[in-house]
């Protein structure tokens, strides 16, 4: 059984709370707020106006550039305004406000649950449909998928790696999706393979999901070219670079794109969205998200239309637990703690995790004892103790020389530090500054 070679940690996976909970559809909200920037890159440009009637699946905003993604309505109703709303971190984001009326879908969307296996589309058409459906990487980064499927000139895709790792503790949405929609995922994989013109795909699944491994193995028996690769348990295996290393034993060089190894990585949820977009004409208007935590009454996996306030999803799961100290959007390792849960669900919200108050605070910071545990935990082979100190002292040149830009912000260093030092806080802040300096230098050089 393989895994990535450098570093990594073993957080307690805590998946029991929501694992094997069937996907439940969340009811429609009365008022939906659909953000226009649900992806990395330029925000989408709205194409609807105040007072317009919209249907489910209707285009609300088109991609605002090459690295951007279209946004579709998850509800039907009347657009009341296009304004800014406050996200879960208090920042402003542009959004379309819709008063929900009924549940009227665009006529071309196939709403049946039949699995459509045949496809005769050309690669170009598949990518076009993916772009039109506004699909982004649902693993967390939200990078527009159609951009990923068009390798830059000179680079050629050789293998598709499907990310079913879900290495973040607590989260189970991808796991459940593989169990319930395995067949659709396989068709989605075939679609992507056709779009990329390749004949080999690997589905990477960590061994703590034996039923998903069994299910996918059974489904791939009949299919040539697709194999399931069980992986050892280690965080951050779901990181793109780590997964490529674990699956095909190639390491993305520092500063290079993952495609340079010939691998394209997509999350299972993304693959499922691709299936729906291409075979069913359904744009990306909903996703499965995990609502979990030790004290949550009904932890589970919920199918949520974008625009639904998170508070409504929480109601489905039995409300905010009494002892909640911290609510995290995503998993505990890389998710962001939220100020409030009034924000609408969107492409980025992969889960809601409620941590009880006694687990919500960081430990007391002590002196660095130079144990080197952060160095051995870093999956990128960096020296977090040094980088964080350099960041504190604003030694930007030295940080760059120590490859801070390679940092994937996985949090292994801070997770493992016996002195509870906020290593990643400083490294992340330093990385942002160094990135700015590098961009400024490149701009000046041009």
């Amino acid at each position: 059984m393989s895994t990535f070679k450098i570093g990594g940690v073993h957080p307690k996976d805590n998946k029991i709370y929501s694992a094997h909970q069937p996907i439940v559809e969340c009811p429609l909200p009365q008022k939906a707020i659909i953000p226009l920037a649900q992806h990395i890159g330029a925000p989408a440009k709205p194409v609807v106006q105040k007072g317009d009637k919209v249907k489910v699946g209707q285009l609300l905003a088109e991609a605002g550039g090459f690295v951007s993604a279209a946004v579709h309505s998850g509800v039907s109703g009347t657009v009341t305004k296009i304004d800014t709303t406050i996200d879960a971190w208090g920042m402003k984001m542009p959004a379309v406000f819709i008063d929900v009326e009924g549940d009227e879908w665009m006529p071309e969307i196939d709403r049946s649950s039949d699995v459509i296996r045949e496809f005769k589309l050309e690669p170009k058409e598949i990518i076009d449909r993916i772009a039109k459906a506004g699909i982004v990487g649902l693993g967390g980064a939200c990078f527009p998928t159609h951009v990923k499927l068009c390798p830059p000139p000179g680079q050629k895709a050789e293998v598709l790696i499907v990310n079913g790792v879900e290495c973040e503790p607590y989260l189970t949405c991808d796991h459940q999706l593989m169990l319930e929609h395995g067949e659709e995922i396989i068709i989605g994989i075939k679609l992507v393979m056709r779009a990329l013109g390749i004949s080999h795909a690997i589905i990477g699944i960590e061994k703590n999901k034996p039923d998903a491994i069994a299910r996918m193995t059974e489904l791939t028996k009949k299919t040539l070219g697709i194999e399931v690769r069980p992986l050892k348990l280690k965080y951050p295996q779901g990181g793109e670079k780590q997964l490529i290393d674990a699956c095909i034993n190639r390491q993305v060089a520092s500063g290079a794109l993952p495609i340079s190894t010939g691998a394209v990585v997509d999350n299972v949820a993304t693959i499922y969205a691709i299936y729906e977009a291409v075979q069913k004409n359904k744009p990306l208007i909903s996703r499965v998200m995990t609502v979990t935590g030790k004290s949550v009454k009904q932890p589970g996996n919920y199918l949520v239309r974008f625009g639904t306030p998170l508070s409504q999803v929480v109601e489905m799961a039995g409300g905010v637990p009494e002892d909640t100290g911290k609510i995290i959007g995503g998993g505990p390792m890389m998710g962001r703690a939220m100020n409030n849960i009034d924000m609408p669900a969107h492409k980025r919200t992969s889960g809601l995790l409620f941590l009880p108050e006694d687990e919500s605070r960081r430990g007391e910071v002590e002196n660095c004892i130079r144990c080197g545990k952060c160095v051995s935990a870093c999956p990128m082979g960096l020296e977090p103790y040094l980088l964080s100190r350099q960041s504190e002292l604003k030694m930007w040149d030295e940080m760059e020389a120590h490859n801070v830009m390679d940092c994937i912000e996985c949090g292994c260093c801070q997770f493992t530090c016996p002195s509870h030092r906020p290593l990643l806080d400083y490294v992340r802040s330093g990385k942002a500054t160094v990135g700015g300096i590098i961009r400024a230098r490149q701009a000046a050089g041009k």
């Binding site: 920042m91 960081r362 906020p422 806080d425 942002a432």
Partner: protein
């Protein structure tokens, strides 16, 4: 005996050779330097704060010596007096400039700005502002982690534990501008110190619309523009829902201050604040004279005593 003589000789010759060698090497690698650089450096404060835009006092001294005129070269710490001395050494005239001081443009005190979350990460404004809006709903205001305090080389900034905001010790502040650069929210501004340290300041940078700004902070500028309307000098402009006072135009007449409905607009360096509620003044001239001993010229204080005028109209009276 021989031993001693030999030792002395060996040591002496070695020393002499080394000295000669050193002399020639020193001659060979001598760096020609304008001696005036040292003189200029001697009159500079020597804090190496970088406030002038150069890497330190020596670098500024070099720049001044090489430059044709002192225009654009300024030691914010030493101010005009120092630049005059520099000018005297170099035979140039120093440009005139008024002393400035750092001003914190946020008055989101703990009471005025209710907390909406509890931040548990590293206490650093830079780190906090990159991830979150801060502990209150205001997306523009002071985060209170003290990046500016850490950046101040003159110990002129301190966080007031009661308000949670930094305060400028104006006696120590040299307007080097390090805090301005350190603040990720761009709240701190270098403003003209003003006569007797008196100046008008809008202590808010919140660009939200009025109701939202007010909801997040009771002391916020709501962009109502009342101050701009009354300003006889047209020094106040309201852009992006926040008022700004041009300190080059402002004559510190204090007409605007009582107009402000939220108290975001302040006259700093005055004994008491003027607000709508306190506009029909209670403070008498005696109070002013006693409270402002250091700030007011005794002659003026005497004049005020004669006038027996309420504080609210005092500055205007004086001008007339």
């Amino acid at each position: 005996m021989n031993l001693i003589i030999i030792s002395l000789l060996v040591l002496g010759i070695t020393g002499l050779t080394a000295a000669v060698l050193l002399y020639f090497i020193a001659q060979k690698f001598k760096v020609e330097e304008d001696p005036r650089i040292d003189e200029v450096q001697a009159v500079l404060p020597g804090a190496n704060c970088g406030g002038c835009g150069f890497a330190g006092c020596r670098a500024l001294a070099e720049a001044c010596t090489k430059a044709g005129s002192l225009d654009g070269l300024m030691c914010p710490v030493g101010g005009a007096a120092t630049m005059e001395k520099v000018g005297a050494i170099l035979g140039m005239t120093a440009p005139e400039s008024e002393p400035k001081v750092a001003v914190i443009r946020c008055n989101g005190t703990c009471e005025a700005r209710p907390k909406t979350s509890e931040y548990n990460g590293t206490r650093s404004c830079a780190i906090m502002s990159a991830m979150y809006v801060g502990e209150s709903g205001c997306a523009y205001g002071c985060l209170g982690c003290g990046d500016c305090v850490a950046a101040c080389p003159f110990d002129a900034l301190h966080i007031n534990p009661e308000t949670g905001l930094p305060e400028v010790d104006e006696a120590k502040c040299t307007a080097c501008g390090n805090c301005v650069k350190a603040c990720p929210r761009h709240i701190i501004e270098l403003r003209k110190k003003g006569e007797n340290g008196q100046r008008m300041v809008v202590k808010c940078v919140n660009q939200d619309k009025g109701p939202l700004a007010k909801k997040n902070c009771a002391n916020a500028c709501i962009g109502c523009g009342l101050c701009a309307k009354v300003c006889p000098q047209e020094a106040i402009t309201v852009t992006n829902n926040v008022a700004y006072i041009d300190f080059d135009k402002c004559v510190v007449c204090r007409e605007c201050e009582p107009q402000c409905p939220t108290g975001a607009l302040w006259g700093m360096g005055f004994a008491e604040r003027l607000s709508k509620s306190s506009a029909p003044q209670t403070a008498t001239t005696e109070a002013v004279a006693s409270a402002g001993d250091e700030k007011f010229d005794p002659a003026i204080a005497a004049k005020i005593a004669q006038l027996k005028t309420p504080l609210a109209v005092f500055p205007n009276c004086l001008r007339q």
